[in-house]
């Protein structure tokens, strides 16, 4: 009961923070939060198909892109005064595009299950990716489409703030709908289809139809996310269909935990945030995201959300004292490994970069020191490579200790909570 009360208190607090955020942050950060909310909605809608109904789609970027293009076309029509459509309702265009294409493509893709389904969705997105650059009238060729937001309902949409509240309203509304979906008979049916589609068929349900509909609902909200992106950026081109975008949402969803409702949104928001802050520091963010994903898949199969929910549901507040030390050791291990990996990756990146090649040529081909994190390192000096080597070795040596401590601490904490 207490955890429920805690959760009920958490939600308004979180909403309140989101409401006042633009008043506190710089425009650049406001923009970052907009992108985080959009990524969160994308992940939530993706995980409606994956987490609820077990349909792993590798091609959700298709509906994201179609939602964006549909919205941009509507915006252009508004710009040319062909139709009068208020800016706050623009995402409806994305929703419609996502729903219709989701129905058509979903009907095809859900003919197959499991890995076939994944491959078919991937191929459908790839079809759009190959078609879009050559189809000028719809996708604007290689350049894509760009347009302008109009002010309406006497709201200023030229500023980031207007866009922020528009995005917030739509993301909040969509999230509520997605959550409510899990409570409907259809939402329960989705779970049944995930668990055992075969049996559902013998209980009087047309599973192909059900899966098509579930997929289309998922893509409808993906379309909304795409529409919000289009409104925020006022432009897009065919690269929005790329496998990269589909891959991102899969990675983020599972890092966040596909088995929980809010996990995917959390994963997407965190990953988008880090992508944003690290974009000036490193060009290897995607590599790190991939590494995080594989580590999560190997060691934390339920993702961050699963981890949180296990702590919230199985442990009493007083039991956490057993976990302080183990988690501190885990943190140390994590930091050591992180230092080692990041140092190696960034060093390799610098040494193999074009800029460094120019530098070498200027020095007659010799391997000259390179600068990283504001310091100079020599590529041939053993001291340079001692840094990652020592930290990785230390991390690896401590890893079994951390695991043992965590296991002990965890069983003691669970024991105390159960008592």
């Amino acid at each position: 009961m207490s955890s429920r009360a805690r959760r009920l208190g958490l939600l308004p607090a979180f909403g309140g923070v989101l409401l006042v955020l633009p008043l506190l942050l710089t425009p650049n950060l406001v923009n970052a939060v907009i992108k985080m909310m959009i990524a969160g909605l994308f992940a939530l809608s993706f995980s409606l198909a994956m987490g609820q109904a077990g349909m792993l789609s590798f091609g959700h970027s298709a509906y994201y892109g179609l939602g964006a293009f549909a919205t941009l076309h509507l915006m252009k029509a508004v710009e040319r005064s062909l139709v009068a459509w208020p800016t706050p309702l623009l995402p409806l265009a994305g929703a419609a595009a996502g729903l219709l294409c989701g129905l058509a493509f979903g009907w095809l893709a859900t003919q197959r299950t499991g890995v076939y389904f994944a491959m078919v969705t991937l191929a459908l997105a790839e079809l759009l990716l190959t078609l879009a650059p050559t189809w000028n009238s719809v996708f604007g060729g290689e350049a894509g489409i760009s347009t302008m937001r109009m002010n309406s309902w006497s709201i200023d949409f030229a500023s980031d703030r207007g866009v922020y509240y528009l995005t917030l309203a739509w993301v909040a509304g969509s999230t509520w709908c997605l959550w409510a979906f899990t409570r409907t008979p259809m939402g329960r049916l989705a779970l049944a289809v995930r668990d055992n589609e075969h049996r559902v068929r013998f209980l009087g349900f047309n599973t192909h139809g059900a899966k098509t509909l579930i997929f289309a609902i998922s893509t409808m909200f993906t379309g909304v996310a795409g529409a919000l992106l289009a409104i925020a950026n006022e432009a897009t081109n065919y690269t929005i269909f790329s496998a990269q975008a589909s891959a991102n949402v899969v990675l983020q969803t599972f890092i966040g935990g596909a088995g929980t409702f809010f996990g995917p949104a959390l994963g997407a928001a965190i990953m988008t945030f880090f992508a944003r802050v690290t974009s000036d520091l490193t060009r290897s963010w995607l590599l790190y995201q991939g590494l995080v994903f594989v580590i999560v898949m190997l060691f934390v199969p339920d993702g961050i959300g699963g981890l949180i929910s296990v702590h919230a549901h199985r442990l009493r507040a007083s039991a956490f004292k057993h976990l302080t030390l183990p988690y501190l050791v885990c943190l140390v291990v994590g930091v050591l490994l992180l230092v080692g990996v990041v140092f190696t990756v960034e060093s390799v990146h610098v040494v193999l970069s074009d800029a460094y090649a120019v530098l070498r040529r200027a020095n007659g081909g010799a391997l000259v020191p390179y600068s990283l994190f504001g310091r100079q390192f020599h590529p041939l000096s053993p001291w340079t490579w001692a840094i990652p080597l020592v930290s990785i070795l230390a991390g690896a040596a401590l890893l079994p200790v951390a695991r043992r401590l965590t296991r002990h601490g965890w069983s003691r904490a669970v024991g105390e909570s159960a008592a």
């Binding site: 076939y116 191929a123 078609l131 009238s137 899969v250 590599l287 898949m297 190997l298």
Partner: protein, 313 residues
């Protein structure tokens, strides 16, 4: 006539390359139930290994080392990663290989940059095998075809004529039974996984010297491979072969044909209308050649949802 012969040859060679990669994928799937998403990324890895060794040691060294190195990677992936997550189910395994694909691609971008590298065959292989009317047909294309054919001959003999092959084929059908008969199933799995990866690596090293070698090659080739297995039916080698050749031919013909839907409509007297409408109707087949395999897949899905050689799941 000339167009026909050249297109058929190109299509067959491309199809054989596709089969080299999809065969491994299908074998692994049939046996372990794992769809190795990273399979095409092993192909890319092979190309880059070939490229690196060509620059340092030599072309042939690359051709020999690529399958060995990539096969070794396959062993590591199977032994230390896939086996760990086996208990969470096949979707989890698929996702893990998906993440690996992502990492391989980013590592390659880290080491070789975002743009294609200049991986080329040795100069003495750049000659025309024969001249057809006015077209010089490059020897290297035939070479790729021959390598692929040699691989299948070897694979076929291995699978049908040797003890190992019999165990592997049996394990594809009834893994539990094979284990009960005292064969070491995990080792068989590892071997097949490594073998599939090695095949993909070899294909990459061979094809990379002719086609562009860049960080996008895996996605582009990989989606084609997936189309092949959807069209052919996963787990079926015959299906993979037929679908590979079909798609190879399909692509090579559509690249060369300047047809559009409006030409088709002109046959029924709607040509003028179609040209006015424009858009999709006047797109030429050659410009949308890249989309053709996906359209073929949609067609197969509509007509035979289980694929050409697949059972009803």
């Amino acid at each position: 006539m000339e167009f026909l012969i050249v297109s058929v040859l190109n299509g067959v060679v491309h199809g054989l390359l596709l089969f080299m990669v999809s065969a491994g994928l299908t074998l692994i799937f049939g046996m372990m139930g794992v769809l190795n998403f990273a399979h095409a990324w092993f192909y890319m890895l092979g190309a880059y290994v070939g490229f690196t060794l060509t620059r340092t040691v030599g072309f042939w060294a690359g051709l020999i080392a690529a399958p060995l190195i990539v096969g070794g990677c396959g062993v590591l992936v199977e032994r230390y990663m896939l086996r760990r997550v086996h208990k969470y189910g096949h979707t989890h395994e698929l996702l893990l290989t998906f993440g690996l694909a992502f990492i391989i691609e980013e590592l390659i971008k880290l080491c070789y940059g975002d743009f294609p590298v200049n991986y080329a065959m040795p100069a003495y292989m750049k000659f025309a095998a024969f001249t057809l009317y006015e077209t010089n047909y490059p020897f290297y294309r035939l070479f790729m075809g021959i390598v692929a054919l040699a691989m299948f001959a070897a694979l076929y003999v291995l699978l049908t004529r040797t003890r190992v092959g019999i165990v592997v084929r049996a394990a594809t059908l009834k893994p539990v039974m094979v284990e009960a008969l005292g064969h070491n199933l995990p080792v068989v799995f590892m071997g097949v996984f490594a073998g599939g990866a090695a095949l993909a690596g070899l294909a990459g090293a061979v094809a990379g010297a002719f086609f562009p070698t860049g960080p996008n090659m895996a996605v582009d080739f990989g989606t084609l491979v997936f189309v092949v297995v959807v069209v052919g039916g996963l787990g079926s080698l015959e299906g993979a072969l037929v679908a590979s050749l079909m798609i190879g031919l399909f692509i090579s013909f559509s690249v060369g044909l300047n047809w559009s839907l409006s030409d088709l409509l002109a046959l029924v007297g709607l040509g003028g209308w179609a040209r006015e409408v424009g858009g999709l109707l006047t797109l030429q087949l050659s410009t949308v050649a890249a989309s053709m395999p996906f359209l073929l897949m949609l067609l197969v899905l509509l007509i035979r949802p289980a694929g050409l050689f697949g059972d009803r799941q």
